[in-house]
């Protein structure tokens, strides 16, 4: 009886190991539903293995050639299953999709946005999961080194009080959304050598009224994101009505455009550098002129 039991346990263990091994064998048909993980996969050289992407994935350009299988709220499960993936990268909140993929016995990699460090740790983890540990390790190392370089350049310099805006109605000061003290935008600002004017707001974002903008008195205003509608001077002139804001008076309001700025993916080190360059232009000129 005891040996019987033992053999059952042994078989069960063997099955588990087999399952794990099967799941761990490097996937060849990967679907990624989130822009940042799609970018990560392409950046670590797994692009040829990506057979489906999310509706909002725009980068790299090759990603646009892959079949689109829905977004965060509306993943197209039929399409996903029909593509016969052996790994689907899903967002942590996609509970329905997870349940359906589980029933279909399709392996998954769970992902959720978090801080700056989580980006490189996700890259490493995802790389290990798809059998590209070396490539992903090199990618993460490079990103970390680039961010570390920015940190070194801005170290010891005065950290300007910065309002990091990621959304605003065009040409008015309505509907201003800014980074709170949590999340990769806040981390990005910190790495770039700025002090967040909302470092007491323990949230990822805060809707900023004109009163708050004046009261927090930012020395620099940085507007990022794809939906900072127009890059025209007219759009930035909306701030002129709040002339007591130091950033307005010293004309230190910058728009950093491009969807990469809002994307916690492998382009994050470039984003950090772009923010640092407007916060501390002197830190970058000096070293460049020496070259």
């Amino acid at each position: 009886m005891a040996t019987h039991k033992k053999s059952i346990i042994a078989v069960a263990l063997l099955l588990c190991v087999a399952c794990v091994a099967l799941a761990q064998s490097s996937p060849q048909r990967i679907i990624s539903l989130i822009p940042s993980t799609t970018e990560m996969l392409f950046a670590m050289g797994a692009g040829p293995r990506v057979i489906g992407v999310g509706n909002f994935d725009r980068y790299p350009p090759e990603a646009l050639t892959r079949p689109k299988v829905g977004g965060l709220i509306d993943p197209d499960v039929e399409r996903i299953i029909a593509l016969k993936p052996d790994l689907v990268v899903v967002y942590g909140t996609q509970d329905d999709l997870r349940a359906q993929l589980e029933r279909a016995k399709i392996p998954m990699f769970l992902y959720e946005h978090a801080g700056l460090q989580d980006i490189t740790s996700t890259i490493r983890e995802l790389g290990r999961r798809i059998g590209s540990a070396k490539e992903s390790g090199a990618l993460a190392d490079r990103i970390e080194a680039e961010i570390a370089d920015v940190r070194t350049r801005v170290a010891g310099r005065p950290r300007p009080r910065t309002l990091l805006v990621f959304g605003r109605d065009a040409e008015t000061l309505r509907g201003i959304y800014a980074s709170g003290a949590v999340g990769f935008l806040a981390d990005m600002l910190d790495a770039a050598g700025g002090t967040n004017v909302f470092d007491d707001v323990k949230r990822q974002s805060i809707q900023t009224t004109s009163e708050l903008a004046v009261a927090r008195a930012p020395e620099v205003i940085i507007e990022i994101g794809v939906d900072t509608a127009s890059a025209t001077g007219r759009n930035l002139r909306a701030w002129d009505s709040l002339a007591s804001i130091p950033a307005v008076r010293s004309k230190r309001i910058y728009q950093l455009r491009g969807d990469g700025m809002m994307n916690p993916g492998p382009r994050i080190s470039t984003s950090v550098r772009r923010v640092a360059e407007v916060l501390h232009p002197e830190a970058f000129q000096k070293i460049e002129s020496r070259k």
Binding site: L173, F198, T209, A215, G225, D227, A229
Partner: protein, 333 residues
């Protein structure tokens, strides 16, 4: 007390209440400011953060709240009388859904350039509201010599659902950040942060209020029946047209200014009726003032309760308005 005296007392009392709320509201906010510094002319305005908070951030906002509140409350009174339906609100006839669709499109398509210094979203939402008014009005007149209130109501309700479906479609097609912004727009926001949006909304609202001024006596007669009003010399069709168009115009302007802030058009008129009775000569001005005071007070709560975070004003009006109204219903039974 004669009716003339009662009207005067109503104007004075409710006018005072609205004025007091509007005077007190700019004094409080998420930041504490010094009134002496605000009015200190020896400090240049560019350097005077307190003055900027007072004059650029708070005052336009309070005025926007007053305009939106009085427009929506007064429109509620007029539409309840026109439709002889106590559940009618400024949003019943599709005006706000049209405005919302316009705003959603402007936000989603990222329309950046406005017209004559006014930004795209309010212009688009005002245009949307006018479009909705035109459709409902056209339908209500199509098979009726005057304005069929039944068709008006049914067309409005149907158009509301239809526009809501279009809004959902636009939201579904849009990007995440945009979806959030459109949802946020629907919760109402009075942080206009300049006087230009007020200037844009003021003319249509003034026009509507000019029409409202001649309506109360006719509405009293109409609330009995069309026939009795006609027998007392009221041009029923003209009054209906004027009621519908003026209430819709005021609603469209108010929604384009502050978003579709809910509950005002129904809570305030009923609250006022519980206080002053059903005579529209009292209800209409009292509701206009009461609506202004109510929205400005709710917006003050929205600005300060969780500062520096802000609770959307539409959420505050509904959370306060709903239970308060229910309590009044029970108390007055």
């Amino acid at each position: 007390m004669s009716i003339g005296r009662r009207i005067l007392v109503t104007w004075v009392l409710f006018g005072m209440a609205a004025l007091i709320v509007c005077l007190l509201a700019p004094l409080v906010g998420s930041t504490s400011i010094s009134l002496r510094r605000v009015f200190d002319s020896s400090i240049p305005f560019e350097d005077n953060a307190d003055a900027q908070i007072f004059f650029v951030a708070r005052l336009p906002r309070v005025l926007a709240g007053a305009l939106v509140g009085s427009s929506l409350a007064a429109s509620g009174v007029v539409l309840q009388a026109l439709l002889r339906n106590p559940l009618a609100t400024p949003f019943t006839l599709g005006v706000s859904a049209g405005a919302a669709l316009g705003a959603m499109l402007a936000l989603t398509l990222n329309l950046s350039s406005g017209i004559a210094g006014f930004s795209a979203v309010p212009i688009a939402s005002f245009a949307g509201s006018l479009g909705a008014v035109a459709i409902v009005y056209g339908l209500a007149r199509a098979r009726h010599r005057g304005l069929s209130t039944n068709v008006l109501l049914l067309a409005g309700v149907t158009l509301n659902s239809f526009f809501s479906a279009l809004i959902l479609f636009v939201q579904f097609m849009s990007d995440f950040t945009q979806t959030f912004r459109t949802v946020r727009w629907l919760m109402g926001d009075l942080d206009v942060s300049s006087y230009a949006p007020l200037m844009a909304a003021a003319p249509p609202i003034a026009l509507s209020f000019a029409a409202f001024a001649v309506l109360p006596r006719r509405m009293n007669l109409l609330s009995v029946s069309d026939e009795s009003a006609a027998s007392r010399g009221v041009d029923v069709h003209r009054t209906q047209r004027l009621s519908f168009l003026s209430a819709s115009l005021a609603t469209g302007a108010a929604v384009s200014l502050g978003g579709p802030i809910g509950f005002i058009g129904i809570v305030v008129p009923h609250l006022i009726r519980l206080m002053v009775g059903a005579d529209h000569r009292l209800v209409l001005p009292a509701s206009a003032f009461g609506g202004a005071a109510f929205v400005v007070a709710c917006d003050t709560i929205s600005r300060t309760a969780l500062a520096p975070l802000e609770i959307p004003v539409g959420v505050v009006t509904a959370i306060i308005g709903g239970p308060f109204f229910l309590w009044l219903l029970i108390r007055n039974r």
